[in-house]
């Protein structure tokens, strides 16, 4: 008996539904995109029970004829493309023809539609993919689709839905995105009868953003405009550097009017803010990319929040330059040729995970500089070249963000290894490629102490740069418990030996790590004390924050907030955590509300605690240029080895560098 069977359409639809319909918000997304494609000027979304019980999208778009209305529920039925070539020119948001069929297979769907001028409209009723009723009806021009009891016939799926509050949050977020992308369309969103969002047609993005986010948000926005229409024209807003977020949640990215989650653009945005915002802090952004349709593939995933660019590096450059241009014109950044060059050089990292057919010019130049160095390298040490190859290899591999950062650091260290060849003339070139701080660091030449002090001010670039070549940062696993301090270099760095060779330990960084671990533990164990306010303060939340509020209110109370929901999107704060400066408390409230994705709960508090612990430990740690007795050095080393991360300080810089016995022997030509 043959085992292979062709699945019925119904089952196939249900399977497809798994890709398209992940949660109520994805249903809303498909329906709203249809409304936009139908040329609607007014779209209203009604939600009950987080979209599980009811989700209704009504528009005043062009509507459908009776036949179309029936056909719409067939799989691969679409009005938007007709042939494969059309995929190259997709201007509409939808095109796959899967959405309605998928949705209808897992819910009870009612569609009512009317074309202007027709005598009667059509009402279609489908349950779990089965047509129940088709009848004439009447409504004004447009289409209303009501989706009831989502996943009623797929219990497995239903179980994976999150709480009502979480689903509402996603829905709200999503409608907010589309309201931003289409200022000309009026949007109304109601949840359980409460109006969450209402925005009248707006003249432009700024006006729409004002409707949604309010005046405070707008005040902090800088306008972005740039790029080239043949690659990607970039417009929108980014937040001024004073506005800081701990997650990328406030970054709204759109490609050809379609909301996307794209790491390439997000990274380019971060790159644009480099040196302006500290590590781990993200700007808010509303960025709209207009990319020629043949240059972008939106047909990557059924949900269509992923896109692929034909010229990824060029798009990333366009975004980064537009952002930097905007920062520069508002005085947050001095735009210099050389700074740009330096960024372009590290720009190779953009391609990560997004292989592009073309190599960015930045990578070329970086490779070239490595080669030049190799030629002008008189010594037998082949370390720099090896290192460079390693970096190149790593660039190709997809890595976590943290590692990416470290890798950029390594790349950076390798590119200006002027120290090895001081007479080659490259020294004059290299420092100019750096930012101002770096300039100070490397122009003071090879003396390790000043270089590392200057490096201290720039978190992203640790001091190993000056120790080029053979002195390297140390892997945790390779640390042995038998470290014997010999003495201090310039009263700042402990010189020690271990079975593998010679170690240099930054005494400040090491102590910082020890203290950080201690303070961090204390912070976590801290009781929440709360200061009542004389006069409750009121806050107007964004729609997404308001939706998030229900999820995190309880958590906020445990931090020491006293909160009360007033009408609409307004909340009153009656008490704040007593251990925070008053201003911080307000920031924290906003951060927690913004970072409310279920997985990230507690993140804001944790990162705040971390920040506090970092600054406490930095202040209390033993300074450079402090003589230490042998006992103190031993104590430092012993304690350092017992910390959570002995090889890095809380700022992410290395605490220990090693000169291996092997390298020493090689240096003396004993090998």
């Amino acid at each position: 008996m043959s085992k292979i069977r062709v699945l019925s359409d119904h089952v196939a639809n249900q399977i497809a539904a798994g890709e398209v319909v992940e949660r109520p918000a994805s249903v809303a997304k498909e329906l709203v995109e249809n409304s936009i494609d139908a040329g609607a000027r007014n779209i209203s979304v009604d939600v009950e029970a987080g979209g599980r019980r009811l989700l209704r999208v009504a528009d005043d778009g062009e509507g459908m004829t009776r036949d179309d209305a029936l056909l719409a529920f067939e799989r691969h039925a679409t009005s938007k493309i007709g042939a494969l070539e059309d995929l190259e020119r997709i201007r509409t948001l939808g095109f796959r023809g899967e959405a309605l069929a998928s949705i209808a297979s897992v819910a009870r769907v009612e569609l009512i539609t009317q074309i202007e001028g027709e005598a009667e409209g059509t009402r279609v009723l489908i349950e779990g993919g089965r047509m129940r009723d088709v009848s004439p009806t009447a409504r004004p021009r447009g289409t209303t689709i009501t989706v009831r009891d989502l996943f009623f016939n797929v219990p497995a799926r239903r179980k994976f839905l999150r709480s009502e509050a979480t689903e509402s949050y996603h829905l709200t977020n999503f409608v907010t995105h589309y309201a931003l992308a289409h200022p000309e369309i009026a949007f109304v969103l109601t949840n359980n009868g409460r109006e969450i969002l209402r925005s009248a047609p707006a003249a432009n993005l700024r006006e729409r953003a004002y409707q949604i986010f309010g005046a405070d948000f707008i005040e902090n926005l800088l306008e972005v405009g740039g790029g080239h229409e043949s690659v990607a024209s970039v417009r929108g807003y980014v937040s001024a550097p004073r506005e800081r977020r701990t997650s990328r949640d406030a970054q709204y990215l759109f490609v050809n009017g379609r909301f996307v989650r794209d790491r390439l653009i997000a990274r380019a945005l971060t790159e644009g803010f480099r040196t302006v915002l500290p590590q781990g802090v993200y700007p808010a952004a509303l960025l709209f990319l207009d990319v020629p349709t043949e240059e972008v593939d939106v047909n990557v995933h059924p949900a269509k929040t992923e896109v692929r660019f034909r010229r990824a590096a060029a798009v990333a450059d366009a975004v980064r330059d537009a952002v930097r241009g905007s920062l520069a014109s508002s005085g947050f950044l001095r735009l210099q040729e050389d700074v740009d060059e330096q960024v372009a050089e590290t720009g190779g990292a953009f391609d990560t995970g997004m292989p592009s057919p073309e190599t960015s010019p930045g990578r070329d130049s970086s490779r070239q500089s490595v080669e030049t160095r190799e030629q002008g390298e008189p010594r037998p040490f082949s370390q720099p070249a090896q290192g460079a190859t390693r970096v190149e290899a790593e660039v190709g591999a997809a890595r976590s963000e943290m590692e990416q950062l470290r890798q950029e650091v390594i790349e950076f260290i390798w590119s200006p290894t002027e120290e090895a060849t001081p007479e080659s003339g490259s020294q004059g070139e290299a420092p100019r490629e750096m930012t101002t701080n770096q300039h100070a660091a490397s122009s003071t030449d090879s003396s390790p102490a000043p270089a590392s002090q200057a490096g201290r001010q720039v978190a992203a670039f640790p001091p190993v740069g000056s120790a080029a070549g053979i002195v390297r940062s140390v892997a945790v696993e390779s640390l042995s418990p038998h470290i014997l301090p010999l003495g201090q270099l310039e009263d700042s760095f402990i010189i020690a030996t271990d079975p593998d060779g010679l170690l240099l330990i930054d005494q400040h960084a090491a102590h910082e790590r020890i203290l950080f671990d201690k303070y961090h533990e204390l912070e976590a164990a801290r009781r929440a004390e709360s200061q009542n306010l004389l006069i409750p303060e009121t806050f107007d939340l964004t729609p997404a924050q308001a939706a998030a509020f229900d999820i995190v209110a309880e958590e906020l109370e445990t931090y020491g907030f006293g909160l009360m929901r007033l009408s609409g999107r307004t909340i009153a704060v009656r008490a704040v955590p007593a251990d925070l400066p008053a201003g911080e408390a307000r920031n924290m409230l906003a951060e927690v509300l913004d970072a409310c994705d279920a997985e990230k709960r507690g993140a804001a508090r944790a990162s705040l605690h971390e920040q506090i612990a970092v600054s406490l430990s930095c202040r209390a740690a033993v300074k450079l240029n402090t003589p230490l007795s042998a006992e103190k050095m031993r104590w430092l080393i012993e304690r350092l080895l017992n910390t959570s991360s002995p090889t890095t300080c809380p700022h992410g810089r290395p605490t220990i560098l090693r000169l291996t016995r092997r390298d020493i022997e090689r240096g003396f030509h004993r090998r």
Binding site: E529, S530, Q531, N532, L533, L534, I535, E537, A578, A582
Partner: protein, 370 residues
């Protein structure tokens, strides 16, 4: 311009003007002061940061009338270390100024008068008020002004003067200081004043009034308030915006009351606060008939506890307070006994001195939940 002045007189005036001069150096011209001659025996020194402007007048021997405009900080530093003698100033070409005193001589770079901002215009002071009263007002309320820059409308003192008296209110959202005096010494003001005075202005006024007896003159227009303190005139921009409705915050129905020796209480809080959390400064008041137990603890460092005898005979109650807030008031209060009035551990408590010195002085403080 050409003049001679005594070192001490100059140093005194520069000390005052120094305080108002812009420290952040956003507009370079603002780090300068303008010195100009008035008649034959007086110079006028003006410094400003655009929000607060101070104009001082002092005696000097004018040889040639005119003006000069030089760095406030440099001139002040030089003057401070000059011998106690007369100092002669002469303006030279390109706005340079030479300063000579006995054997020392300096040349200081100056700027054009045009780049120095115009002093806001003002009417003559319309209202007189005892310097002593105004100084008491500031001393007893300035500490409760918020230090948070973003809270614009709380970053100053609400000052109200009318024919029923004068009052000043400050708050940072956690506590509120209120002082009122009805008896203003006979001269009821013809014109009322109601203004939100920035913290810096109040601090500068305190300095100006230290040696000032008698009365000061006050006047206000839409955006400014000005003070005549002796020969000196201070003009300050007022804060725009809505000060919170403080009357709504003043507690009503605080049915429990207890009095303390303010020195004893102050010392006890100071000791117990040593063991309070570094950031929250939380201390716990546990009040039972006959005594008050004050305590604090930090997870890592330990705890402290002190008991004060009282004549309290109400119900047992526990309230948490920020020790700093209590100390601020006890230091400013200047009286031997303090009365605590409260309702429960969650509502605002009110503190005030028990004796009547003509001021209605009250301090409202919001408890902590600990």
């Amino acid at each position: 311009m050409d003049f001679v002045i005594s070192k001490n007189a100059l140093q005194k005036e520069l000390g005052f003007v120094q305080g108002t001069v812009e420290k952040k150096n956003t507009i370079p011209a603002l780090s300068n002061i303008l010195i100009e001659s008035v008649g034959e025996g007086t110079i006028r020194i003006i410094g400003t940061d655009m929000d607060v402007t101070l104009r001082c007048e002092t005696e000097a021997e004018i040889k040639t009338p005119g003006w000069m405009c030089v760095s406030a900080r440099k001139l002040f530093e030089i003057t401070r270390v000059l011998p106690d003698s007369s100092v002669s100033f002469r303006k030279e070409e390109n706005n340079w100024v030479s300063v000579k005193c006995e054997r020392s001589s300096f040349r200081i770079a100056g700027i054009e008068r045009e780049s120095f901002p115009e002093v806001p215009s003002f009417k003559t002071a319309t209202v007189k008020l005892s310097a002593n009263i105004f100084k008491t007002f500031i001393d007893r309320t300035i500490f409760a002004i918020t230090l948070e820059e973003s809270r614009y409308t709380l970053s100053g003192a609400k000052f109200i003067l009318n024919n029923s008296g004068a009052k000043m209110v400050t708050t940072d959202g956690h506590r509120l200081a209120y002082i009122e005096r009805q008896d203003l010494g006979g001269n009821a003001p013809k014109e009322g004043i109601e203004a939100l005075i920035p913290r810096k202005t109040l601090a500068e006024l305190t300095k100006l009034m230290t040696s000032q007896e008698g009365e000061i003159g006050l006047g206000a227009d839409e955006n400014h308030i000005y003070f005549e303190v002796g020969p000196r005139l201070l003009i300050s921009r007022t804060l725009a915006g809505q000060f919170p409705n403080y009357e709504m915050v003043m507690p009503k129905g605080n049915d429990k009351r207890v009095e303390f020796d303010s020195v004893l209480l102050g010392q006890a809080i100071r000791r117990v606060a040593l063991m309070a959390d570094d950031r929250s400064h939380a201390v716990r008041f546990h009040l039972v008939p006959g005594s008050l137990h004050i305590s604090s603890q930090t997870a890592e460092e330990g705890e402290a506890r002190e008991t004060i005898a009282t004549e309290y005979n109400g119900g047992e109650i526990e309230i948490g307070f920020n020790a700093t807030y209590l100390q601020d008031f006890l230091n400013a209060m200047n009286d031997s006994a303090v009365a605590f009035e409260f309702k429960d551990g969650n509502s605002q408590a009110q503190l005030k001195p028990t004796s009547d010195d003509g001021y209605d002085y009250r301090y409202v403080i919001m408890p902590m939940r600990i």
